[in-house]
């Protein structure tokens, strides 16, 4: 595998920089809340700046090669190295994680969840960022696994401490479920390591040697990885932790969860499971495809049944990640490109939807669809942003969501020659039905919440504050409780700052998708060729 080693400090700096912020925050008393927020914004901003510099230094003509490559000794006892690198597949996700963390930190400026204590909250968020970025640069299985697990704890605490009413249950479920997956994954990693003569955990070696393992063993090892990654994605039927986690998590948690954490699973398939075990992938692809399509339809039906806006958005993730997995299961460059694009698009769009849901909750103290109506009258800008995100989410061409869905459908009709064509063509048709259902639940949601006139409860005519007090969860809301009208206001400055990049990215990537396809495609093509060579 050819690698480029120039500027190889940049990934390490970009990944671990947030830890500097954590260190500083450690020595500042928790009462200095504003200071903590400032440090978090500065740290994540600096991280993003490094990320942007990475974008500048990245050699786009060789995006199929791993760049900024470092291969140092780390734990030589188990032959694991500190091996990192970045190519066209991981670059978009790596940058996305930095951008999302930065914007979420900004959003936290005046949207701190109820439980307070920004010090711990933001420290956890910074640690989370290290784990996420690290997962995308790791080129060694153990290193990857460590980063992958580092992500788990901060998110567990974010949900468990700053979450909603059922946070205990949701956080525990999230932690255990993912842990369960990780355990099987680790088994598979170890098995792969031993099957390839226990020489190295480096991706490069495992890709070369993994393809030589006999077919049955590949299938077994793939099964372990499958469960680990499928839980994280999450794929049907391993998805039930997701709606609970999302619904209970604070807005920041939901956004990061949707935007980045879920992608660790799909990224794992693309980067690890499929290229290292081509025959295992070929054998499992139909299963993945079928489960993905079940997820698409099932997630959509789940959405239709929801009465809570945030839970609806959470279920829509199941459906969208179904499209991503469908793309991956085709084992074609078209499908995997679609999947990678879909990951970023879903991160931006669903992240945006969770932001809006959070802000609505902040103002109305409820997300029950029945009680929300006429958002466009009370908060026109918020209403339009919701509409924009909903349209993007249902895959409208010209917005980012389309480029994850449509090529996946194209690819599913024409899967890798080794796969069962009839099966995948059936799946294509069912998946297309999913786009109809997506339009159904999103527009229905929009019609019920944004159109119409505001209900009496929130229209400001009633004098009864009692109802609100009962639902009041937000500390900020308590402040302006005396003034009912100021409770429901349109998008504020901080929200604009945090959201505008999302909105622009959704539009720009939608209008000119080549921006990303150009970066990913060479790497994906090379990967697919490698997989193809591994399938007899």
């Amino acid at each position: 595998m050819e690698v480029l080693t120039n500027d190889n400090w940049i990934l390490t700096v970009g990944t671990f920089l947030p830890l500097v912020g954590v260190l500083v925050m450690l020595f500042i008393p928790a009462v200095e809340e504003t200071l903590h927020k400032q440090i978090a914004i500065v740290t994540s901003g600096a991280t993003l700046a490094v990320g942007i510099w990475t974008l500048v230094l990245f050699d786009y003509d060789q995006s199929e090669k791993l760049q900024f490559w470092v291969d140092e000794e780390w734990i030589s006892v188990i032959r694991s190295g500190y091996t990192i690198g970045l190519d066209g597949i991981s670059l978009p996700l790596y940058i996305l994680s930095m951008a999302v963390t930065f914007l979420v930190a900004i959003y936290t400026w005046d949207n701190m969840p109820d439980a307070g204590n920004p010090k711990s909250f933001l420290m956890l968020m910074m640690v989370l960022q290290v784990g996420m970025a690290g997962s995308f640069i790791a080129q060694d299985l153990i290193l990857f696994f460590v980063f992958f697990e580092v992500v788990l704890l901060p998110m567990y605490f974010m949900i468990g401490v700053w979450g909603g009413e059922q946070r205990q249950y949701a956080s525990l479920k999230f932690f255990l479920y993912t842990m369960f997956g990780s355990a099987l994954m680790l088994v598979a990693f170890l098995a792969l390591f031993f099957q390839t003569d226990a020489v190295s955990f480096g991706f490069a070696h495992l890709m070369d040697a993994g393809a030589l393992i006999d077919r049955d063993t590949q299938i077994w090892i793939f099964a372990g990885m499958f469960v680990g990654f499928a839980v994280k994605v999450p794929m049907f039927p391993f998805h039930t932790w997701l709606p609970d986690a999302h619904t209970q998590a604070p807005t920041q948690g939901s956004v990061i969860l949707a935007a980045i954490l879920l992608k660790l699973g799909t990224y794992g398939f693309v980067r690890i499971a499929i290229p290292m075990l081509p025959q295992g992938a070929e054998a499992w692809a139909p299963v993945i495809g079928v489960l993905a399509v079940i997820g698409i339809i099932y997630g959509a039906l789940g959405c239709l049944a929801q009465t809570d806006m945030k839970r609806l958005i959470a279920f829509s993730s199941v459906a969208h990640m179904g499209f991503v997995m469908l793309g991956i299961s085709t084992l074609t460059s078209l499908g995997i490109n679609a999947a990678l694009f879909g990951m970023v698009a879903h991160g931006l769009i669903t992240g945006m939807l969770f932001f809006v849901a959070g802000s609505i909750k902040h103002r109305y103290h409820t997300l029950e669809i029945k009680r929300l109506s006429g958002l466009l009258i009370q908060m026109p800008k918020m209403g339009w942003i919701l509409g924009f995100a909903a349209m993007a989410s249902l895959g409208l061409p010209g917005l980012a969501g389309f480029w994850g869905e449509f090529p996946a459908i194209l690819a599913a009709w024409n899967p890798h020659p080794a796969l069962n064509q009839d099966l995948f063509r059936t799946l294509t048709v069912i998946a297309a039905l999913g786009t109809v259902l997506a339009a159904g639940y999103l527009l229905w949601l929009y019609q019920r919440t944004a159109f119409g006139t505001p209900s009496d409860e929130f229209s400001g005519h009633d004098s009864g504050h009692g109802g609100h007090a009962a639902h009041s969860l937000s500390a900020a809301a308590n402040h302006d409780h005396d003034d009912h009208e100021s409770d429901i206001h349109d998008v504020n400055t901080i929200e604009w700052i945090a959201w505008t990049p999302f909105l622009i990215a959704i539009l720009v990537l939608g209008v000119y998708p080549q921006l990303m396809f150009e970066v990913m495609d060479p790497a994906v093509t090379q990967l697919v060729e490698r997989v193809g060579a591994g399938i007899p």
Binding site: V187, W220, G224, T240, L301, G302, M391, P397, Q447
Partner: protein, 793 residues
């Protein structure tokens, strides 16, 4: 970065042909301008929309001019004019690049000109019609984007760009139909329009995937050429299904049976939207798609194969012609009559494509756009000026022709065109469709065509009588200065006569509510003492922004057909567009009994003899030449049109005007005769399709299905998860009691201990379960790893 070479062809293309891609780009940019700066501009952004559309029209006109030149330059020396294609890389995958750009040929030039022209007029009209609307700026933003979407689609050189334009229109139709979204009925109509079309779009997505599978490309020109050369003959069955899938999308978009139900509801939007939507954009998109990749449908569905009597496109088109025309008879809302009329005319276009008459179908798109847009704008003009924002023909119209000369004149000209009266534009296109059905031996569709023409005339006569003639009623009586007390009598009587009318009472009322509601911002007493000046020769008619476009369209309703008059062997339009069919025209004329083809045929033979165009010289499929016009063949249709007019006029006078004439005995038939009443009820209920979709299918998916899936999620899948967690805990407790306390060593505990230690850190916050689970899981992992290694060793 340019994708491939620009196809310039043998003859160098002029500036307009090279840069026609600007046509959709300009309004698209204007959309963002209006959205972000519209409210700050003196005219609320409408000026941006208008400027952009005029610019687009100017370029479109230049393009059309240069295209005509190009056709002239090619013919007869180089054969059919080659399209001007330019593409830039839009996205890529696996090294294959997919482009965005332009494909300029006869079809796209026709559509560009048509869309830009009609959009311009509609925008002018809107500046007055939606004046003072609470979302004036949004309205102009959406309508500009709407036109941009259609222009993007018609210029598309590949399927992906076509889908882009197609879906943008879907979005804009959602925004515009739901323009007054405060009313639930409007937002429902918007949702219904988007959703119904989206159901059809499934076919578009899958069909496109199929095209990629068969041809390995999504470029329209390549697909057409490959199909014409017979490259898909090995996968004929797949090609057939591709055609079916794509046609499903067209059914949804073009309001064909059985997905036509969204179109009449779409009347909830402002009238300029209806006119744009129903004339040149949105609904003709489906017809356009079939015309654009015609070879796929032609070959896939075996159109014109000897002995074929029916095919999917023709059958769906034919059914649509008739069922929609029938529905138009029972509408009280003038816009709904026109909506069903559109559905019916779209049926004609589809039917025409289904029987192999490509040129007639495209020409019908062209003529229909002018007269249907005119009819809608006239309806809006009446509601704006004469009927207090009502669209109810029975309650609030009648007798207004005296005060609205322009509106009335244009309406009547357009109606004549719609009915196919000779030498009005619709005659040339519609008669060619009917005549082709006869000549190509699609006998059934020939009868569908002439019966449809009869029905069209009949329902339009009824609507015209109710709207413009008879006694003024309701708001119209007020407008005409007639005393009010005569007004409701007629309506009462009419209700008697037609019987079960009240069954769809809620529909026109909704429509009233919408428009009245939308306009309440500027009050509605002063509207005929309007803000703007009327045309100098029609003082009592609507203001010039409204009457002007109507006048222009009225003139075009008469004259737009003169560019292709089979009756005079004048085939100019066909000559300009024939290269866009994708298949050569077989001028040998074996099927039709008509002999020689005269001068026109000679010219075309010259083209074929040359054979300079490689793609077409290899084509093994071809479409038949248009039949030679003979008055004898047109006569049955024309007689039926005349009959339709006479019967409907007599009937209308008897029923609505209470005249004692030949038809008086039929008055009140629906009340007296059970069969007639039953038939009427079926029509009023729109064949029950709406309730099938909304109350049965959608409701089933949205409620029981979704609920069941969610129940399954919570009570089966999640129960397994929770059960696993609980039993894990119990097992853990058991192991702790029985194993841990006694057996200290072993891999399980060793690895468990590590996790347990780290888990202690969590205890202050959580209940402490975590470390137990963690221990267990890590233990299990270790055991599993060992087992797996042993198995595979």
């Amino acid at each position: 970065m340019l994708l491939g070479a620009e196809t310039d062809g043998v003859v160098t293309a002029g500036w307009f042909l090279q840069n026609a891609w600007l046509i959709p780009v300009i309004p698209a940019i204007a959309f963002f301008g209006i959205l972000f700066f519209g409210k700050k501009l003196p005219r609320g952004g409408s000026e941006l929309g208008l400027i952009s559309m005029v610019a687009a029209f100017t370029i479109a006109a230049g393009t059309a001019w240069q295209w005509v030149d190009r056709v002239h330059a090619y013919s007869p020396e180089y054969g059919e004019a080659e399209p001007v294609i330019r593409q830039w890389t839009w996205w890529q995958s696996g090294g294959t690049e997919f482009g965005i750009g332009q494909q300029i040929d006869g079809l796209s030039v026709t559509m560009l000109l048509l869309v830009a022209f009609i959009s311009t007029l509609v925008l002018v009209y809107s500046t007055e019609y939606v004046r003072g609307d609470r979302r004036y700026t949004h309205f102009f933003a959406s309508i500009t984007l709407f036109s941009a979407g259609m222009l993007t689609m018609v210029i598309a050189p590949n399927m992906v760009q076509l889908i882009l334009g197609w879906e943008i229109m879907g979005l804009c139709s959602f925004l515009l139909i739901g323009h007054w979204w405060e009313e639930q009925a409007n937002s429902r109509a918007a949702l219904k329009a988007f959703f119904t079309v989206r159901v059809g779009d499934m076919g578009l997505l899958v069909g496109t995937a199929m095209l990629l599978g068969i041809f390995g490309t999504l470029d329209i020109l390549e697909i057409n050429q490959l199909t014409a050369e017979g490259a898909a003959d090995d996968s004929k069955n797949l090609l057939m299904w591709t055609a079916v899938a794509l046609f499903i999308a067209c059914i949804g978009k073009s309001g064909q049976f059985p997905l036509h139900t969204w179109l009449p509801d779409a009347m909830a939007g402002p009238t300029p939207v209806s006119s744009l939507l129903h004339s040149s954009t949105m609904v003709v998109a489906g017809v356009f798609l079939v015309a654009r990749i015609y070879p796929v449908f032609y070959v896939g569905l075996d159109i014109n194969v000897a002995g074929q009597q029916f095919n999917l496109i023709a059958v769906i088109g034919g059914i649509t012609v008739l069922i929609a025309a029938l529905l138009a008879f029972v509408q009280d809302d003038i816009k709904k009559v026109l909506a069903y009329s559109t559905v019916s005319q779209l049926g004609y276009m589809m039917m025409s494509l289904g029987i192999g008459a490509w040129t007639a179908a495209v020409f019908h798109i062209w003529t229909h756009a002018f007269f249907k847009c005119c009819l809608f704008l006239a309806a809006g003009s009446i509601s704006h000026t004469a009927s207090h924002h009502s669209f109810d023909m029975k309650k609030d119209m009648g007798g207004i022709w005296r005060k609205m000369p322009v509106t009335t004149g244009a309406w009547i000209a357009s109606t004549a065109a719609l009915c196919g009266v000779p030498y009005f534009s619709g005659f040339f296109s519609k008669d060619e469709i009917i005549d082709s059905a006869r000549a190509y031996d699609y006998t059934v569709f020939y009868y569908v065509g002439i019966i449809g023409a009869f029905m069209t005339t009949a329902y339009m006569t009824r609507a015209t009588y109710l709207t413009f003639f008879g006694t003024p009623r309701g708001a119209a009586a007020h407008f005409m200065g007639v005393a009010h007390d005569t007004s409701h009598e007629v309506h009462g009587h009419a209700a008697d006569a037609v019987g079960a009318e009240h069954a769809d009472d809620h529909l026109p009322e909704h429509a009233d509510a919408h428009d009245a509601h939308g306009h309440d911002a500027h009050g509605h007493d002063d509207h005929h003492v309007s803000h703007s000046r009327p045309l100098p020769f029609a003082k009592t008619d609507s203001p010039w922004q409204i009457a002007g476009p109507i006048l222009v369209l009225g003139i075009l309703a008469v004259s737009a057909g003169y560019i292709n008059m089979p009756v005079h062997k004048f085939y100019w339009f066909e000559h300009q567009t024939e290269s866009a069919i994708g298949l050569p025209i077989a001028h040998e004329e074996e099927k039709s009994a008509d002999g020689g083809e005269g001068a026109e045929a000679a010219a075309v033979e010259g083209e074929e003899a040359h054979g300079g165009d490689e793609a077409h010289s290899e084509a093994i499929y071809s479409v038949p030449a248009p039949p030679k016009f003979k008055w004898v063949n047109a006569a049955p249709g024309l007689i039926l049109v005349a009959l339709g007019f006479a019967i409907s006029l007599g009937m209308s006078m008897a029923v609505f005007g209470r005249r004692k004439n030949l038809f008086a005995p039929f008055v009140g038939l629906t009340r007296r005769n059970r069969i007639a009443r039953g038939g009427h009820t079926v029509l009023v209920k729109k064949y029950g399709l709406d309730s099938l979709y909304e109350n049965i299918i959608v409701r089933a998916v949205a409620y029981p299905f979704a609920k069941a899936a969610y129940w399954f999620n919570q009570n089966v899948i999640d129960a397994v998860v929770n059960g696993a967690g609980r039993s894990g805990k119990l097992t853990g407790e058991w192991i702790y009691r029985n194993v841990d306390q006694r057996v200290v060593d072993g891999a399980v505990n060793a690895s468990g201990l590590v996790a347990s230690e780290s888990g202690h850190a969590l205890q202050p916050v959580q209940s402490g379960k975590v470390n137990q689970y963690g221990a267990l899981l890590f233990g299990a992992a270790a055991v599993g790893a060992i087992v797996l290694i042993l198995i595979n060793a």
